[in-house]
Subunit: 109 residues, 2 copies
Amino acid sequence: MTQTAGIDWNSAEKKVAEAALKKAYSREVEALISGVRAQAQAICLLEDVWQLHDFLSARRHEIDGKYDSEESSLVFTLSQLIKDGWLNLSELEGLDSSKRAKVSVLTRM
Amino acid sequence: MTQTAGIDWNSAEKKVAEAALKKAYSREVEALISGVRAQAQAICLLEDVWQLHDFLSARRHEIDGKYDSEESSLVFTLSQLIKDGWLNLSELEGLDSSKRAKVSVLTRM
């Protein structure tokens, strides 16, 4: 067990967190792909092409930094994914109640 | 008539050049749009999304600098568009023969 930023994650909990991250990631990627397809089909003008480009620049930047699985960041990562709608608090069963409480509080911030 | 970089463009010639630029631009934009649509439909992985993003970054940069209609740049602009396949030398009828010869030479460089 490693102690980071005052939160211990045992291996069972790490597995729960990793599975949750994986689930959220696959949902977000799937939604992004169908969003890009739809946006591409609706392109009429060059301006629309650059709008898609701007959209992808923003999403790339966001997704790159978002799935931080460092133990010290995990409660923040998980709460952000819940806020973004890619994860549900109920999918974190298996984490101890204090961690779930922390995640839950962070989702309301 | 303005003298720039040793090439005079009278108003009739400017109209021919502008029409050619417009034609090339609309062809290039149309091809870009259908290319983006096709590429978007073929997306399976997040990696493909970022590949589309890279492609759009490159095309945006390229197209932004390409349609330079300054008189001093026009022979270069036109020859580049011919090299890229968006324009045909025969579409420059109406320019005097020395300009067309310059454009033609530049397309072979």
